[in-house]
Amino acid sequence: MSIPGLPRMTGWRPITTVLILLGALAAVARFTLGLGATTNLTDEFPWGLWIGFDFLGIGLAASGFTIVAAVNLFHAKEYEPIVRPAILTAFIGYLLVVLVLIIDLGRPDHFWHPLVMWNPHSVMCEISWCLMLYTTVLSLEFAPIILEKLNIHSPIKWIHAISLPLMIFGVLLSTLHQSSFGSLYLIVPNRLHALWYTPLLPILFFISCIASGLSMVVLETLIFARDGRDILATPLRAKLAKLIAVALAIYFVVRFQDLLSRGMLRELTTLSYYSLAFYAEILIGFVIPFVLLLFERVRTSRLGLYAATVMVVAGFAFNRMNTAITGLEQYPAQTYFPSLIEIFIMLGITAVGFSAFSFIVKHLPVFEPVAASPRLRTKAPAGLPEPVFIACEREDLKPS
């Protein structure tokens, strides 16, 4: 039902509202009752769902540095239209991850300690620094979008002047901490299952984040390109899809070469708790989408790309959760399943992310449609949901 003059209620709005409220309640519980009463974390399993979520958030936000590097450092200017969505995705992703990290800390009030108390031998210290610096870089890269809207131009010039070193710095920081999330586990060879533990963890984390980050941008261009306006022309999107396929292939080769050289392929010959988890991630996230993306028809079709990129993202989530949870379980003696409060906090924060994204793209010039003369919005075709988002047009930005 819709009332003329009021924004249409979509199914998403009540769902996200409920999730955010539940998440907020769960967070209150976590801070008043402590970690023990509200999570299923134990001495044997000190890291759980939230760390997995951090890996996921950072990995999916990888588009921020790949697209910036491609467009502004390698001059692939035809991809200009997705730079802003990529930066926004990364910015929101990083802010949420920092938020989850603070909730996860036993002493959230001490969260600033890594900034003043250094330990250069700690991967965690390196990650904290990279997260903080890169979030700063992202906020500077994102600032012009807000300033443009507010019509304040002098800081934009200032940011523009330092943009080249800033972008190079951002790309380097991303390379470092995307791989460092893998390095976190280099120190637990006796705990992490051999299907996931490898000295190559940092390299594998880096390659897979490129595939998942690119998949996220492709997904965004598909979701937000309704109503006849495309964010990215089909051939350009197909080229991105090809890049995803290349990253997937490289990942697959390195991963299996590594399993082979460590003699761990035999782990895959039997069906066990671990090998099933491994098959799930490698088939859903890497093999099937790779095969799909080999076909020109899939790369140029919206539905095909939807399917392939959703699978890459899902398989990526599987991979990170397997590294952070499944691989550390001692099945069946000692396993871990997150508590409801852990799940609610994660879902709530995810909902905050989605709401923030759609709120910002509605009010700020993030998506700039490429179609030269956008068709005027007519009635939505029967049977299809009405577009939730209408891309901003240049006219909107002119000061009235």
């Binding site: 000190p46 200017k77 001490h110 300690h113 965690m124 000295p199």
Partner: protein
């Protein structure tokens, strides 16, 4: 460095009287009930394998994993041997729990200001020149306190004089880079719950192999990205220039006739 203290734990001498745990609890003001596993209130515990009792506690490694992973340096290795913990620095990331190869640190999960708890190697007693509470209490000499070098000699001597009684190995001499707790045993250590997968390399070396590449990534990567930018930028400039030249030529061409 002769100052480094250690404890020699001779499994053949331990009778399982639990005096070490009682003394430890008294020293650290912990509730005196007997416990079988390491916990927040038991910094040491005896686990039983067949007829043997094995003392578990923080091994106070020479190159401690926990010290290397702690992002804020809340854990430090003191010169005398103890691995000390500073709760005022701790942020509660629990990386030490995750990384410790001996599963030693325990976390105050039920607190809203949680800390880790583990054996302190009686650092305050050591500073006063005293020996540890547990070694003082041990009635059979199964736990012996002393300088690490001397204890290593002593352990080697015991094994050499009674080769039938011991397996020829001092656990902790070189394991994970050496520890302050040295064990001698009548049966192979793998049968006593000691993790056979831990080698002689200190665990922090595994991380350093990746972390040591950070400066290279920054410098080489920075130069490379800058170079790529310069080349691609130049190329697009040249392309733009050539395009404008061509346009001018054709315009001149059209103007001539």
């Amino acid at each position: 460095m002769n100052q480094k203290k250690a404890m020699l734990i001779d499994l053949t001498l331990c009778v399982g009287c639990n005096a070490c745990q009682s003394a430890c609890k008294e020293e650290n003001h912990l509730p005196p009930k007997e416990e079988k596993y390491l916990s927040l209130t038991a910094y040491t515990a005896l686990s039983k394998y067949n007829d043997l009792y094995i003392r578990r506690m923080c091994q106070h490694c020479d190159v401690p994993t926990c010290v290397s992973v702690c992002p804020v340096g809340a854990l430090t290795k003191l010169e005398a041997g103890p691995v000390a913990y500073d709760e005022d620095k701790c942020i509660g990331c629990r990386y030490c729990l995750q990384a410790c190869p001996f599963h030693v640190p325990k976390y105050e999960w039920s607190s809203t200001k949680p800390r880790i708890q583990k054996c302190k190697f009686c650092a305050s007693r050591l500073a006063k020149g005293l020996q540890t509470a547990c070694s003082e209490a041990c009635p059979t000499g199964a736990t012996k306190f002393g300088d690490r070098d001397e204890l290593l000699n002593e352990a080697a001597r015991r094994i050499a004089t009674e080769p039938g009684k011991y397996v020829p190995r001092i656990y902790g001499k070189e394991d994970v880079g050496g520890t302050s707790m040295l064990y001698v045993s009548p049966v192979p250590f793998e049968q006593l719950g000691f993790d056979p997968r831990l080698g002689k390399t200190p665990m922090p070396m595994l991380t350093m192999s990746a972390l040591s590449k950070v400066p290279n990534v920054l410098s080489v990567g920075g130069v490379m990205l800058g170079g790529i930018w310069w080349i691609t930028n130049r190329r697009s400039e040249v392309q733009a220039f050539e395009a404008s030249q061509k346009e001018e030529q054709t315009r001149q061409h059209e103007d001539k006739p």
